[in-house]
Symmetry: C2
Subunit: 225 residues, 2 copies
DNA sequence: GCGACGGTTCGGCCGGGACCGAAGCCTGCG
DNA sequence: CGCAGGCTTCGGTCCCGGCCGAACCGTCGC
């Protein structure tokens, strides 16, 4: 009847509370075990196993066996992106899961999006870097300039392996809370990793929140305004 | 439990065949009556009425009463965008509703996306205009230059009312088949309208296909390569 | 080896929600 | 005015699919 890609299957997979909770939990970027995901979804391991099988078969999840555990992660950045897009639509229509609280404000300031920094802080960083000529921006094709390479090298990011990898170095990712771009791709991931390694950013227990430590907040402000 | 926007509701609405078919039908951009949508979805008017009520209440559709008909259209560009994103994800995972055929190839070349041109032709147009300095492109903030304004005026697009309107003049829209940007926003819509008015492009019956007439194909190639 | 533990499979229960036909409401038309 | 046609509401049916407990399979650790 209809032609083109089958939206329904993907949307139906996401549109079920237990599965949506699992996917949301994985937006944190780490791989989680089947049991942890069951807990996040509030169902028994038996039920979770079924859901995880479906998600993996549809190509949304990337399962890895390790010992007697089975780890699941989002299958790629595009999955994370789609989830964020839906979140944006939901937010703009006022469908909030809970009433917005302090939690929510913190989430808007800094959170993890798959494997890179998102939120207002991420947008400030992106725009500052673009404004100072560290990134060339044309449509969603963006690239690191010479000056930009020096800049991130000073931060302690080793560009060598990143350039060698198959994954694109720079990509833009649309922020659902800010509705503006921030940096993703291999560089986005590496920079967040760097901030974390030097103790600027800590992850708040299990969720997607990220918190700046006092020296981190200072340093970040100096770097990106 | 979870914080942030409620993805589940939106995704569940989209993830049901009848409703997905309705939404897909509306991606064509025109408003359709309840009856037409029932037919597109393959259900009785009674069933369709229920679905349409849900979609409208969730803010995905914009219902308008007119005489004894009730017309429905997508509530906005962001809804179309979200549907296209899901389509992209589905396509990249190989979930096709039917096996790809000639139909599908035509769809990749030129189709309507809500109210503007999409597909390979749209991408060529966008990149040609950007390359010739008709559009300034910075992230997804894009704008029409002086030269660009002259150019589209020559095509017969009247910019006055467009600039006055609340809707942004230029926006980028990501193409699920090409995975690159094309032009949307008020200008995107106006240009498609213009092509149609001068007989360059015709719409293939009810679907989303657009076909270039022979003079249209010639003219388009001359303009945008 | 044996037990402990993570994960999956199976069978059966149950509820939500999609679906339809029939009746009702409203609008426009003769 | 009364009829026709578009749409919605209401009841009732039915099935898909989520959920669990229990049994089963594999891996690890003693």
């Amino acid at each position: 009847m209809q032609q083109g890609p089958d939206i329904t299957r993907i949307a139906a997979l996401i549109g079920e509370p237990a599965r949506a909770n699992m996917l949301s939990a994985l937006l944190g970027g780490q791989a989680l075990t089947a049991r942890e995901l069951a807990e996040a979804a509030g169902v028994t391991p038996a039920t979770a196993s079924g859901h995880l099988g479906q998600l993996a078969e549809a190509g949304l999840l990337w399962p890895r066996k390790q010992g007697r555990h089975r780890y699941f992660a989002l299958a790629g950045e595009d999955v994370a992106q789609a989830l964020e897009t839906l979140a944006g639509l939901a937010a703009s229509r006022g469908h909030l899961r809970t009433r917005p609280g302090p939690n929510d404000a913190a989430l808007r300031e800094a959170r993890i999006c798959y494997d890179h920094l998102a939120g207002a802080a991420a947008v400030r960083m992106f725009e500052s870097m673009a404004g100072r000529g560290f990134l060339t921006v044309a449509r969603e094709e963006i690239d690191l300039t010479e000056a930009g390479a020096d800049f991130v090298a000073d931060l302690g990011v080793d560009l060598g392996p990143l350039r060698a990898a198959r994954r694109p170095l720079c990509r833009v990712c649309l922020d659902w809370s800010e509705r503006r771009s921030h940096l993703s791709g291999a560089l986005g991931a590496a920079m967040l990793e760097r901030f974390r390694a030097q103790g600027w950013i800590r992850r708040r227990e299990t969720g997607r929140h990220l918190v700046f430590t006092p020296p981190g907040a200072r340093g970040f402000r100096e770097l990106f305004g």
